[in-house]
Symmetry: C2
Subunit: 165 residues, 2 copies
DNA sequence: TTATAATAGTTTGATGTCAAAGTATTTCCT
DNA sequence: AGGAAATACTTTGACATCAAACTATTATAA
């Protein structure tokens, strides 16, 4: 049974909302409503699973993504701005997450020598080690989803239409 | 071009991550990684669109969902706990959102007379009015998604497997 | 050369999410 | 009846997200 869900197994709140939408003459909007609501719920569940897997390392998903990005980057470093671009998050969110990664000794922040406006986040040895362990753990989550590979790929492909804007 | 995305249109960070995953021998986890990452990104984009549409009413998506739920409920009221069950959010999140809806005069909180532990959130006339206008606006978002109806329904059906746990 | 514009990050403030701890009330069981 | 356990909700604290305002640095243009 799901977290926070104490009611009867029989009623599915999203199915119920869909019925209501149709009953109120919003037929056209019903499939979109159901899809968006579903994505929101699923997102929370997935992030929750991931953060449970990452908890032994004191990492959140957001911070893991930054570590992972730096682990792939040339010289293990990237400007704050690039991180925001790649992860599609607000610059303030990058500042916030990087501050915590630095606090925990996983990365360091260094000014770029050719342009002092730029701050580079650089993976440290401890960060590399944590990253490698965390990646193994998170991959267990990725391989144990309820959907088969083909469905996952379909899903990814379809949602790309929304993601790109 | 997307918010916060300043780089070349050619590089797709998720496609790149998938390449890296395969290159590092995490082939099995790659589809899951891509799907989860995509869902996270898409969720943020959708919530962002919705909240832009709701901004004239001073509503967030979370608070809209509560209003919408109350609008469908018998007597326009529900216990805090039921709201959390239906929306699959933590009780503390309900408390937080309801506090703001009450502050804005859209709902009221009343103790249930048969059990004083229970707090009922009840839609007020102003809340009803705001709800109706907000629903029209949010339905415009739901009807203007980049995916056709069949795809939306497929998506909803597939993701239900994850949502139910 | 210098004033203006653009760029890169950070700070602040509002909201949302969750876990864990705390309070109040009701139920259950001896 | 009375104490323990369960239930319902709130509070607190940590973290994430975004928008808007602010600072610093570099580029542009008169």
């Amino acid at each position: 049974m799901s977290k926070y869900f104490l009611g009867s197994t029989l009623d599915d709140p999203i199915a119920e909302a869909t019925r209501q939408w149709r009953a109120h003459g919003w037929e056209e909007a019903a499939p979109g409503m159901a899809a968006v609501t579903t994505i929101t719920r699923v997102n929370r569940i997935l992030v929750s699973r991931i953060e449970e897997a990452l908890s032994p390392f004191g990492l959140t998903f957001a911070r893991f993504e930054i570590l992972r990005l730096l682990g792939f980057a040339r010289d293990n470093e990237l400007p704050m701005g690039k991180i925001g671009d790649r992860l599609q998050v607000h610059p303030a969110s990058v500042t916030s997450a990087v501050k915590r990664l630095e606090r925990d000794g996983l990365i360091e922040r260094v000014p770029a020598d050719h342009d002092n406006r730029i701050v580079l986040a650089r993976l440290l040895p401890d960060g590399r080690k944590t990253l490698e362990q965390a990646t193994r753990r998170i991959n267990e989550v990725f391989t144990s989803l309820e959907l088969d590979t083909a469905t996952l790929q379909d899903l990814t492909a379809h949602l790309a239409a929304i993601r790109s804007d």
